[in-house]
């Protein structure tokens, strides 16, 4: 899975990734983003995950999203999901994540 992380201003990050977010790739996805948050000089206040190219999310993907949400929440930041397909939104809905996730 190819993961691109860009800074958006001083305290913002935009993540672009494509393909399946599953057993095979979820851990890598999460680790890279967490590393980027920690490596940032300024504390990250806004994390945007672009789901435009994500075709599939499994329970492992959901778990990572929850982890990222918790981390951002812990540092008074915001997690936003962009370009999420209906099918993936359904998956979030199934586990009740729609209650707290912000979809752009």
């Amino acid at each position: 899975m190819e993961i691109k992380i860009k800074h958006n201003g001083i305290s913002g990050l935009i993540v672009n990734a494509g393909g399946r977010l599953d057993l095979d790739s979820a851990v890598e996805y999460g680790t890279k983003i967490k590393d980027a948050i920690e490596d940032s000089d300024e504390p990250i206040k806004e994390l945007v995950l672009d789901f435009g190219e994500i075709s599939f999310i499994s329970s492992f993907g959901l778990k990572i999203i929850l982890e990222l949400y918790k981390q951002m929440n812990g540092q008074n930041g915001v997690l936003k999901l962009r370009n999420v397909s209906e099918q993936i939104k359904n998956s979030f809905k199934m586990v009740g994540f729609n209650q707290f996730l912000i979809f752009e």
Partner: protein, 781 residues
């Protein structure tokens, strides 16, 4: 022609001798010519000196004649005392004994008016005593009318003039052939008479005959003639008459006094001619001029003259010839004794050794061959011990070979309880143990795998490696890997055991006995042939992967197709296509395809194999087989009657390993696609399958290896996803559901997956059966 050492050496010797002979011959020819020239000069000198002697004689004769003329003149002028005159005459002849006689003769009536003839003649009688003959004054002889008198008196014109008569025969007095020189007796410028000195012709001949220019060469004269047919002529060239000749072909007496023209061989230019041909014989003429226009010609036969030189030349030639014959013969004999015979002996021994006879070699001379023989001896001993060792190895090899052969399945048909397919394989090994092998077995309940392979190299190492590879493939293929993955694992393991740099070409087919699906994999092997039902055999065009054992991270592509009932797959090794006939032609792929198609009517695959073998044998004839000839034939005979009707089911068995996840979901996607499932169901299947697959790989075997078998079945409007493992007993459904309404900070990270499965599936149930965990998830379409 000159292939042996013997003939080559002989040739060289003969060549050298020939060159020497030619060189010597050239020298001899030049030498001979020079010698001949010298001889001719020598003869010439001898003749010259002889001519000098004659000249001297003639001078003496003429001087005597002049002295006599002086005596005659004194007699005439003084008191005419006969006794005094006689005394003076005798004195002259006493001092010179080469003339026969001589005297003084007066003109008629000049001394005495009453006496017509007045002469004093002295001669040597038979006892050699000088005697005066008075008979010449008589009437009978009448010297004034004799030829010699007339001839001389007509020639002399002044005092001291001498002249020569023609040769004549004198009956009076000496009774012999003679020639006379005379001088005029003058008184008051008038000739009163002449003096004469007689020269006997036989004396000239005697002189000539005694001439010996060189010892043992020649002397001229009849009777005592040592050189056959040599002859001479003395002539007066000026007056053109022959004085004397002894030509054996002419009447010499008749010639005397005649012109030189009467001699057939004579001509003016004789002096310049090297030789004349006369009566078919060659003569060398020596022409010498003498005083008073006289000439002496001596003719010597050329052959006789150079006899000694020619004889010497012949002796020389003969000697050379003998030497030229003896040297090669001697060399030949010695060569045979010291070189050829020992070589032949060694050859003989070598032949005996090669036939396995026990031979002791005995050569003592020459030293080189003795050493060679000793080397031979030690070589023979070495060969013997090597042979013994080789025999031992050979017997071990034949055991190895039989072990190897018996390791291949050889009972046919091997699976009589599976009528859906038939398989036949055979291997005819080449002389040594080889690297070909084949194998076949079920890798799970439905999948039957067959393979044919060729290990690079020959001999024991290749055979050992082949056994390893065969066992390895058998073990790994039972572990439930996907078809593609299976060969990657096999390759990795082959690489690990391959320290010698071997590699393996392999062709395998994995046949689904229920569906007729077949997966082919070709790792650098010969392309198999396939016959579709009633068609012809055709070469398949499988993607050729890299050979096994080359790189441990190699990826492999498989080719999937479906067999129909009646289809036949023919696989083989390069021992077939590379079989060679006497002319060095290869059997080749075309011939193989033609052979199979010629016999395409055969149903029994064993007979098909036999027909190919026969064709190869007919092609190669007596040419020995250089490589293993191996073939494996697979035929789909009839559909599986046991499979579940009206339903479609796929099973995928893999080691329970996270790294197999990708091949797992790829398989799952392919099934979804094959069955045309909608996106919703596909997505659900995907999510659920991942969850269960992950659970089993993470927890079921607790770090030990094991498998996970996934079966997906479609029956009418249901899709059933079933997971099976032999891990620890675990029912995931017992896990409590997470609270999905709690604030996000309080939500646990685990347990979401199985909750989702329950949410998405229409039915989920768990069963523990035969030490297996079986989880069934049902989706309604």
């Amino acid at each position: 022609m000159f292939k042996t050492i013997k003939s080559k050496i002989l040739l060289i010797i003969v060549l050298i001798l020939a060159i020497l002979l030619v060189a010597f011959s050239c020298y001899a020819v030049v030498f001979r010519a020079k010698t001949k020239q010298l001889m001719l000069q020598n003869y010439s000198f001898s003749v010259n000196s002889f001519v000098h002697q004659i000249n001297d004689k003639i001078t003496r004769l003429e001087d005597n004649s002049k002295d006599l003329a002086l005596i005659g003149s004194l007699f005439y002028r003084t008191d005419r005392s006969i006794p005094l005159t006689d005394k003076a005459i005798t004195k002259i002849f006493e001092n010179y004994d080469n003339s026969l006689g001589g005297g003084i003769w007066f003109e008629p009536y000049i001394v005495d008016k009453s006496k017509k003839r007045m002469c004093r003649y002295i001669y040597r009688n038979n006892d050699g005593v000088l005697t005066f003959d008075d008979n010449f004054e008589g009437d009978e002889y009448d010297y004034h009318n004799q030829g010699w008198y007339k001839q001389i008196i007509s020639q002399v014109t002044k005092e001291d003039d001498t002249a020569w008569s023609l040769p004549y025969y004198e009956k009076q007095g000496s009774d012999t052939m003679m020639i006379t020189v005379g001088t005029a007796i003058f008184y008051d410028d008038k000739i009163v008479g002449i003096s004469t000195v007689d020269w006997e012709l036989s004396a000239i001949f005697k002189d000539i005959s005694e001439m010996k220019p060189i010892e043992k060469t020649f002397s001229l004269y009849d009777g005592k003639n040592k050189i056959k047919d040599s002859f001479a002529v003395l002539a007066d060239k000026e007056h053109d008459y022959i004085i004397v000749s002894n030509d054996p072909f002419l009447d010499n007496e008749a010639l005397i006094g005649k012109s030189l023209k009467n001699i057939p061989w004579y001509n003016e230019n004789l002096k310049n001619i090297t030789y004349i041909t006369y009566h078919n014989k060659k003569y060398v003429p020596f022409v010498k001029n003498i005083k008073n226009g006289m000439v002496l010609i001596i003719c010597v036969p050329k052959t006789e003259m150079f006899r000694y030189i020619d004889q010497f030349g012949l002796y020389m030639l003969f000697t050379l010839f003998v030497i030229g014959l003896i040297i090669p013969i001697l060399l030949y004999i010695k060569l045979n004794k010291y070189i050829i015979n020992p070589i032949n002996k060694l050859m003989d021994i070598a032949n005996k050794i090669s036939r396995g006879e026990d031979v002791k070699i005995k050569i003592e001379k020459p030293e080189e061959f003795a050493k060679l023989a000793a080397t031979y001896d030690s070589m023979t001993n070495n060969i013997k011990s090597i042979t013994k060792e080789r025999e031992k190895i050979n017997s071990e090899l034949s055991i190895a070979k039989s072990i190897q052969e018996s390791s291949l399945p050889n009972v046919f048909p091997p699976f009589p309880e599976n009528p859906e397919f038939d398989i036949f394989a055979s291997m005819e090994p080449a002389k040594e143990v080889g690297g070909d092998f084949y194998d076949f077995y079920f890798i799970d309940e439905k999948h039957f795998m067959f393979l044919i392979a060729d290990v690079s190299g020959k001999g024991v190492p290749a055979a050992l490696f082949m056994m390893t590879v065969k066992t390895l493939i058998n073990n790994v293929s039972q572990m439930g890997y996907s078809h593609k993955k299976l060969f990657e694992v096999i390759n990795k393991k082959v690489c690990q055991t391959n320290k010698q740099g071997f590699f393996v070409t392999l062709l395998a087919g994995i046949f689904n006995t229920e569906t007729g699906d077949i997966s082919f994999i070709n790792c650098g092997h010969n392309q198999p042939l396939i016959k579709r039902q009633n068609g012809l055999y055709e070469y398949m065009n499988l993607n050729s992967n890299i050979v096994l054992g080359a790189f441990d991270d190699a990826k492999f592509e498989i080719f999937e197709t479906k067999l129909n009932v009646g289809d036949v797959v023919f696989t083989y090794t390069d021992g077939i296509t590379e079989a060679i006939n006497e002319r060095g032609d290869l059997f080749g792929e075309e011939r193989l395809a033609n052979c199979l198609n010629k016999n395409s009517g055969l149903d029994n695959i064993k007979e098909i194999a036999q027909s190919v073998k026969n064709e190869i044998k007919e092609f190669t004839q007596s040419t020995p087989q250089s490589d293993d000839i191996t073939m494996l034939i697979f035929k789909y005979q009839t559909e599986n009657l046991n499979k579940t009707p009206a339903s479609d089911s796929r099973t995928f068995r893999q080691p329970a390993d996270l790294e197999n996840y990708k091949s797992f979901y790829t398989w799952l996607h392919e099934v979804s696609k094959d069955w045309d499932l909608n996106d919703d169901i596909s997505n659900k299947l995907d999510m659920c399958a991942e969850e269960i697959f992950a659970n089993i790989t993470f927890y079921a075997y607790d770090g030990n290896s094991g498998y996970v078998e996934t079966t997906i079945t479609k029956i009418d409007d249901e899709v059933v996803l079933q997971f099976e493992d032999r891990g620890v007993e675990y029912n995931p459904l017992e896990k409590p559901d997470p609270d999905i309404t709690a604030p996000p900070e309080d939500r646990p990270l685990g347990g979401l997956g199985i909750f989702m499965v329950k949410q998405m599936a229409d039915i989920v149930n768990y069963e523990r059966k035969d030490d297996k965990n079986i989880l069934r998830i049902v989706f309604k379409i």
